[in-house]
């Protein structure tokens, strides 16, 4: 008997042939590990100030130099990776859950429920995302739910980005559910008398997981980008906490005199976004060979 491969195995084989995507995947894993172990790997605490050592150029003691207050830029970049990656990944996961649930309910029931639910989505889409992001963030931050400033900043950012991010996912999932629910195996499940929640969970969502995962990989870099955007214009995370956007803002402020400050966060953002985009492209091609461009 011939051994047949599952859809996922086939996709994995296809993905492995794509060198750029595989390389990006390893790079993403590397950045994630660095971010996860930032506390162990960084030579100094992110907020330790070395008096009289402001604006040092890269040297053997401070690998990336020091910033305007004499803090080690290498440590700050590592901690920045932690914050940026955490925001990117957590937010994408939350958006995925909300978007999938919302979209599948809307698509499954159709009719009036669908049109009301989609009208809400249309309203959110009609607000430029950065404006919505700023509004939700300011709103959420004003409640000051946590003691620690870091937790406050992180949750504010995650909530705001999730509010914006789930909308696209909901739309795509709804479209997919609308297509899939007409297929015969769903009809069979319905005839067997399963409850809608069961059919959605066991029959529909596993079959539309491909596009959802692809969207998820593209949401992560766009969240990282939005986070750095907001932090750059001063509405995101605040110093002494570090994210790539905060560091880019520091670098921009000191640009006239000490241009080397902009490069570590800049290169980090660029390479990470590049890796996520390449990996996402590869994943899309691997999961859906028909869509290959």
């Amino acid at each position: 008997m011939m051994k047949s491969n599952s859809l996922w195995q086939d996709s994995w084989v296809r993905l492995q042939k794509n060198k750029g995507a595989m390389f990006s995947m390893y790079f993403i894993i590397l950045v994630s590990v660095l971010a996860l172990f930032a506390g162990v790997l960084s030579p100094y605490p992110f907020d330790e100030i070395f008096d009289g050592k402001e604006f040092l150029s890269p040297n053997s003691k401070f690998w990336f130099g020091t910033d305007s207050l004499g803090r080690d830029l290498f440590s700050r970049t590592l901690y920045g990776a932690r914050m940026s990656m955490a925001v990117g990944i957590i937010t994408a996961l939350i958006s995925m859950v909300i978007g999938t649930v919302y979209g599948s309910i809307s698509g499954w029931f159709g009719g009036r429920i669908d049109s009301i639910m989609m009208r809400f989505v249309d309203t959110l889409i009609a607000i430029p995302s950065l404006v919505l992001l700023i509004l939700v963030k300011v709103f959420f931050d004003s409640f000051q739910l946590f003691e620690s400033l870091e937790a406050r900043a992180l949750t504010g950012m995650v909530v705001a980005l999730s509010m914006v991010g789930w909308v696209t996912l909901a739309r795509v999932v709804r479209g997919q559910v609308l297509q899939v629910k007409e297929l015969t195996y769903v009809e069979a499940a319905r005839a067997l008398g399963f409850k809608p929640a069961h059919i959605l969970r066991k029959y529909i969502i596993p079959n539309i997981l491909g596009p959802i995962i692809v969207l998820l990989t593209f949401q992560i870099p766009s969240n990282i980008l939005s986070e750095s955007f907001l932090s750059f214009i001063g509405l995101g995370l605040q110093p002494p906490y570090s994210s790539w956007g905060v560091l880019a803002n520091d670098g921009w402020k000191a640009m006239q005199t000490y241009p080397h400050l902009i490069f570590p966060p800049g290169v980090a953002i660029f390479l990470t976004l590049l890796a996520f985009n390449l990996f996402g492209d590869g994943l899309r091609d691997a999961l859906d060979p028909k869509m290959k461009t």
Partner: protein
């Protein structure tokens, strides 16, 4: 006679006139802005009428009003439930003065009354008075800040199309060669580059190192170059990728084979037959593109200290300047909604197979 044929020409003429004035350092008179707007609306009206899209358009406009109303309500409630008012300064005001100020802006009224008063104002075309810029109405602030933002966005859009489409076409025509890889390498990098980094690097190189271009402000055309490039490069990269994949689709179709078979030169096939048919996805992308350029312009205006809408939005949020935040949110939403509507309408022109209903 066929008036509708001359309206696009007139519109083009007016736009070229305005750009000419701007590039030669003259201020574009507001009459010209109004004229362009009016011509555009007239042209659109004739187009809608001739293609019997009137019903569809009315429906969409009705929906748009509903959505705008929802956005207005939600934003209003969101802002008013935030703890901490606009007049809670570090230095506490004497209670009588604070009460007086709050009375002036109706902040002492119940929430619903405030809301009713605000809606009444907006219906009369008045967005209220800014809390921070005392004595200046939101409408005035927007009127003053809109032209630089519009120009920046417009030039960035033009740059994005002029760079993106040829790049994508070129890459597709040389599919799977080093030229293709180079173009797509550029495009993927462009997508991964946040515009504040592009802006910073451009300023670093051209203003601080070479000292050939100004690092900030929005005065002469020389000042336009860096912000427009910084804002346009990401959309250009998106368009390049989109154009390439769409051209690759079209190239495989039967009518292109026919065109080649009847002996047309490769260049003619590419520019006449392929390009025209592969621009539809690019058109579809114009809605999100407009939104992206709008959001991007906040940061670019902030970096280059351009007196546009972006810095106002950022400062109004930290100042809790409710009327200004509301006004700007409404303005941005209206622009986005109508950009999408126009894209949908134009769709029927470029692809007559599509029927809107």
């Amino acid at each position: 006679m066929k008036i509708e044929k001359y309206i696009p020409l007139l519109l083009l003429g007016l736009i070229v006139w305005a750009i000419g004035l701007d590039l030669f350092g003259y201020i574009i008179p507001s009459v010209l802005f109004y004229a362009i707007g009016l011509t555009f609306v007239c042209g659109l009206g004739v187009f809608i009428y001739k293609n019997s899209l009137l019903k569809y358009t009315m429906k969409r406009i009705g929906e748009a009003f509903f959505v705008i109303f929802l956005i207005m309500t939600a934003t209003f409630l969101l802002l008013r439930t935030i703890p901490g008012g606009p007049f809670d300064e570090e230095k506490a005001l004497p209670p009588e003065i604070k009460a007086n100020i709050e009375k002036k802006y109706n902040l002492d009224q119940p929430l619903l009354t405030q809301y009713a008063l605000y809606i009444g104002q907006v219906v009369r075309g008045d967005m209220g008075e800014s809390f921070k810029y005392v004595g200046r109405s939101v409408t005035d602030i927007i009127k003053e800040a809109l032209p630089p933002s519009l120009l920046l966005g417009f030039y960035a859009l033009i740059l994005a199309f002029l760079m993106g489409i040829p790049l994508g076409l070129f890459a597709a025509a040389r599919h799977n060669t080093w030229i293709d890889n180079l173009c797509m390498g550029f495009a993927v990098s462009g997508i991964a580059l946040p515009n504040f980094l592009v802006a910073t690097l451009l300023v670093l190189f051209f203003s601080l190192k070479l000292q050939v271009l100004p690092a900030a402000l929005w005065v002469t055309p020389w000042h336009y170059i860096l912000p427009v490039i910084a804002l346009g490069i990401r959309p250009a990269a998106f368009i390049a990728r989109l154009t390439r994949s769409s051209v690759l689709d079209v190239i495989q179709s039967d009518y292109i084979r026919t065109a080649k078979a009847k002996g047309l030169s490769a260049r003619k096939v590419l520019w006449k037959h392929v390009l025209k048919n592969s621009l539809l996805p690019v058109l579809t992308f114009s809605g999100p593109l407009a939104a992206g350029i709008m959001s991007g312009s906040f940061v670019i205006e902030f970096i280059f200290a351009i007196p546009g809408l972006g810095p106002h939005l950022i400062s109004s949020v930290s100042n809790r300047d409710y009327p200004l935040i509301l006004g700007l949110t409404l303005l941005y939403s209206i622009m986005l909604i109508f950009a999408n509507l126009i894209v949908d309408l134009l769709y029927t022109f470029f692809d007559p197979r599509i029927k809107l209903s």
